[in-house]
Subunit: 294 residues, 2 copies
C-alpha cells in the first residue's frame, strides 16, 4: 500500500477513535455501562467503514468535515453488532482482535445493554450533530436504520444463525453476506457520496460499488479463516471449517473463491473508473480489502 | 373508569395493534425473524404509551392523526426492551402476559435479534413517516433515542441489574425507575404535546407530568407484585420478595408506599390543572395507573 495512504489511515483511525471516546465520555452513564461501551470501542478495529465514508466524500470533492458525525454513528452501530454477535447465544466468541469479548470481560447482561445503548445513541448522535441540516439528518438516520435493521444487518445475522451449515448455493451465501456485511459498508460510501452532493447517477454507482466491495471483504474473510495468521488476526483461524460453516472456499474451492473475489475486485474498479475515481486512495483500498491479512 | 374511556382505550388498542402488525408484515424479513417480532408485538400489552401520547395530543387540541407513526415507533422500542429484559442474562423470565417470553418461544439468538431489529426499525419508521416535516422527524428521533439510550432506559436497566438487592435509599430507587420506566412514558406525553404545537410552558409541565406518572406506574407495579392476582397479570406475583429485590414497599412499608404513590397522583393532577387538562381522559388515566390490577 502507498505509504501516504498508510499514514492517512493511521491518522484517521486516531481521529475516529478519539471522537468516539470523547462522545461516550461526554455521556452521563452508570460506571459499568460506560466502562463496557468504551472497552469495546477501544478494542479498536480498522475503522474501515468511517475511512471508506471519508475517502468517498473526499474523492467526490465534498466537505470532509461533515463526514465525522455520520462516520462515528456508523462505527457505533458496527461495534454494537460485534458485541451482540459475540454473545454465547450467537457466535459464542471469547476473543476478538486479541482481547476478551465484551461479555467475557464484563457479563452478558452488560454486553447486551452496551450493544443496545451504542445502537440507540448512534441515532441520537446524528439527530444532534450541528453540521447537518434536518434534511441531511433524516436521510442519514433513515439509511442507517435501513442498513442495520430488520431488512438489513439484523436479517443477515438471523439468516446466518439459521443456515450456518446448510447452505449449498453461492447465491444464498452471497445474499446473507450482502445483508450482514454489505449493507453497512454500502451505507458508508452512499453517505460519503451524499454529503459530497453527488448526482443520482453517482449515487446509483456508489451503491453498487459498496455492495461489490462488501463481497470482496467477505470472501477475503473466509479465505483468511483458512490461511490467516492467528496472531495477526487476534482470533482463532480455521474456525469455519471446525464449525462446518458454509464459506466461499467450501462451496467453490480455494481457487474458485479467489477467482470469484478477483472478479468482484475488477467490477469495483470498473465502477470507480465510471465515477472518475480511479487512481484515488479508494482504488488502493479495494486492493487492500482483497489482500488484507487481518 | 368511565365506560366511554374504556371503549376509547379498546378501540385505540385495536388500532395500534393493527398498525404495528401491518408495519412488520410489510417488511421483507427472514421467516423466523418475522414470526418472532410479530409474536412479541401480538403478545399485546396495554398500549399505555401510545394511548398516553394520543390523549395528550388530543387534550391539547392537536391533530391526532400525526400521533400514530411516533406512537408505533415508541411501542416498538417498548417491546424490544421487554424482549431483552426477559433474557436469561437479565431477568430470566419464562412468561410475560401469560405467554412464553420470546426466547422461550423461539431461541435466545432470535430474541436478541428481534429486539435489536425492533429498536432499529423504530427509527426507520419515524424517518419515513409521510405526515412529519424533517424538523418533526429530527425532534422525535432525538427524543426517542435520548429516552431509550445510554443516558435513559438502557442506563436504568444497567443500574437495576447492578443494584437489585443493595438499595437502601428511596431516592436511588426512584432514580433508577425514572430512567428505566419514566423516560419512555415522558417521551409519550412530550411528543403528544409537541405534535399539538404546545407552548414552552406546557412542554415543561408535560415533562414533569410524564416523570410523575412514571413513578405512580412504578410504585403500583411494586404494590401489584405483593397483592396482584397472578392470573390477571399473566406472570408470577411475589417475585420481588423472592428475589429480595428493593421495592417501594420494602423500603417504605406497604402503607408508606401507598402514601408515596398518592402524593404523586396529587402532583400529577395539579400539573394537569395547571395545563387546563383537568377533567380530561388523561386525568382518569392517572387514576387508572394508580389503581390498575395488571
Amino acid at each position: 500500500m502507498d505509504p501516504n495512504l498508510v499514514t492517512y489511515i493511521k491518522g484517521e483511525q486516531g481521529r475516529f477513535n478519539q471522537l468516539l471516546i470523547d462522545y461516550l465520555n461526554g455521556l452521563t452513564m452508570p460506571p459499568l455501562l460506560k466502562k463496557s461501551t468504551i472497552y469495546s470501542i477501544k478494542a479498536g478495529g480498522k475503522r474501515l467503514r468511517p475511512i471508506l465514508m471519508k475517502l468517498t466524500c473526499e474523492g467526490l470533492n465534498g466537505n470532509v468535515d461533515k463526514v465525522y458525525p455520520a462516520a462515528i454513528a456508523l462505527e457505533m452501530v458496527h461495534t454494537y453488532s460485534l458485541i451482540h454477535d459475540d454473545l454465547p447465544a450467537m457466535d459464542n466468541d471469547t476473543y476478538r482482535r486479541g482481547m476478551l469479548t465484551n461479555h467475557k470481560k464484563f457479563d452478558e447482561a452488560t454486553a447486551i445493554l452496551a450493544g443496545d445503548g451504542l445502537l440507540t445513541n448512534s441515532f441520537h448522535s446524528i439527530a444532534n450533530a450541528t453540521c447537518y441540516s434536518d434534511k441531511e439528518k433524516v436521510f442519514i438516520v433513515s439509511k442507517l436504520a435501513q442498513a442495520s435493521g430488520l431488512e438489513g444487518m439484523v436479517a443477515g445475522q438471523s439468516m446466518d444463525m439459521q443456515a450456518e451449515q446448510g447452505l449449498t448455493e453461492v447465491d444464498e451465501l452471497e445474499h446473507i453476506h450482502q445483508l450482514k456485511t454489505g449493507k453497512l459498508l454500502t451505507f458508508a460510501v452512499v453517505v460519503g457520496a451524499y454529503l459530497a452532493g453527488a448526482s443520482n447517477e453517482i449515487m446509483d454507482k456508489i451503491e453498487q460499488f459498496g455492495q461489490t466491495i462488501g463481497l470482496v471483504f467477505q470472501i477475503q474473510d473466509d479465505i483468511l479463516d483458512i490461511i490467516g495468521d492467528q496472531e495477526i488476526m487476534g482470533k482463532a483461524s480455521g474456525s469455519d471449517e471446525g464449525n462446518q460453516k458454509s464459506t466461499y472456499p467450501s462451496l467453490l474451492g480455494f481457487d474458485g473463491a479467489m477467482e470469484h473475489k478477483n472478479r468482484y475486485v475488477q467490477q469495483a474498479k470498473q465502477l470507480l473508473h465510471e465515477m472518475k475515481l480511479e487512481g484515488t486512495y479508494l482504488e488502493q483500498l479495494v486492493d487492500y480489502l482483497s489482500n488484507r491479512n487481518q
